[in-house]
Amino acid sequence: MVQRPGSVGVVRPQTLHFAQPLRLTSGASIADYTLMYETYGELNAARSNAVLVCHALNASHHVAGLHAENATSAGWWDNMVGPGKPVDTNRFFVVGVNNLGSCFGSTGPMSPDPATGKPYGARFPVVTVEDWVDAQARLADALGIEQWAAVMGGSLGGMQALSWTLRYPRRLRHCVAVASTPKLSAQNIAFNEVARTAIRSDPDFYGGDYYAHGVVPRRGLSVARMIGHITYLSSEDMAEKFGRMLRAQDYAFGYEVEFEVESYLRYQGDKFSEYFDANTYLLITRALDYFDPAKDHNGDLTAALAAARARFLIVSFTTDWRFPPVRSREIVEALVAHDRDVTYAEIDAPHGHDAFLLDDVRYHRLVAAYFDLIHGETRVSPHESPLPRESGAGAGVGAQT
């Protein structure tokens, strides 16, 4: 039966408070913290159909559907997750979680530091992909999910999915990593550093404690976003979207916005600076820089991936120059060396790194086919004796919404 793909509809974010300290990679720890998350679909009786979706730099727990108070803002992967969509919520129980240190409701630099009562600001500890995965594992415990059917993500989200296979090899059956990389290149780190420098040199940054001054380093954040955006698009895509188009008839011989591409970047930057937290931008770009599972294995990725037990779907896009196909192939090669099950697709799409968020029939039908296989493994139908939707409270963890 073919079902017309739909939306999961209006969704309500939930929060879970974790009272146990979380020890971080840096050696520091967070005394207690809150994670914001959303779920779609029903967890089956065998608890075997749960899928964790990990977000990238600027996204959140809001993966799919709409929020009642903002009916225009669909989740960031709404074309991927929903009834009849590649990750079909009629079959899977999908969890989206806002990572620690982000700015969409989970504990982060904007949250009050229990030691002072003031926002953490610059004192919020640097967290890593591995720390996020540890926090996600605690959320899985609280939701009663012993083993994910799949952990999936694009870009930085794919790094988290990869990290799951190494830190908790038995707690997921499939790893789906799209447009990702086993580590940043010098060029990737360089772009991050330019973005961070833009933020930190904004006079309104105040060393990260701008909250106390009632300001936001909007200009720096805007420039950071503009830089990021350039790396998300392919050169071909930019040429096609903007070319050398001018907003007016001819040159104005000045320095205000004249080219359409300038206008687009400024708009993206300004919009972003209104809702994103500058400290979070620093923190997440640093987490990107630090991710390198091969680091503890003398740079040998094959040795690093020895622990992985999951089956993998790795997808890259030909025009993605931020995390190009060759980076995904490194992961594939290491998995083949370990005789792991892996499907690798290299999608010939024009949209650069952003392609992982966009509609592309070859990409989506492949992910759909892969999730069909995963569904075939989950023996109990999600419609047989479903658990109550909010089964969140685990031992020692209090649910609050």
Binding site: R329, V332, E333, V336, A337, D339, D341, V342, T343, Y344, A345, E346, I347, D348, R362, R365, L366, A369, Y370, D372, L373
Partner: protein
Amino acid sequence: MTTMTLRSDLQQIADWIAPKSAVLDLGCGDGALLAHLRDVKGCRCYGVEIDDDNVLAATRLRVNVLQADLESGLRMFDDDRFDTVVLSQTLQAMHRSEDILRDMARVARQGVVSFPNFGHWRNALSLVAGRMPVAPDIPYQWYDTPNIHLCTLKDFEILAAQCGLRVTDRSLLARGEPVHWLPSLRATLALYRFETR
């Protein structure tokens, strides 16, 4: 489990592959051979394929398919990674036919290659009549064919020897059936099994 019967040339290839061995299929198409080897012989399999539709079809068969262009070589695979490497009806369409044979020898101890026999009598007759052959196994016009390196049985055997490959078995088919009498003229498809060292 796969329930479909294999095409006869793929069945011949499957018969040459040891149970529970590690197999790499270059240009694996829809993954039918690898799914069969996995389900019937318990082999550990990977396939390389460039075409989107084939990658999707192989994924649906739960085959480990890696989307890549064989022309860029087999760098993804370590030396001696596989027991058998298969190149089925792909050699004739490759630019670097010799390189791929040498690379196959690097990654596996045993190889299997199949290709359309250009030495078939009908092809020769066509050339005598002044036209490039078009036949069921090579159904393209000369100006739009992907088959740029067609060869005869003897041509292949000479190249195999040059590459240090030791042919151990040969199966020659016409319409899926074995050909024993005048095979170099009557076979449409040639299958070779060889040791690589």
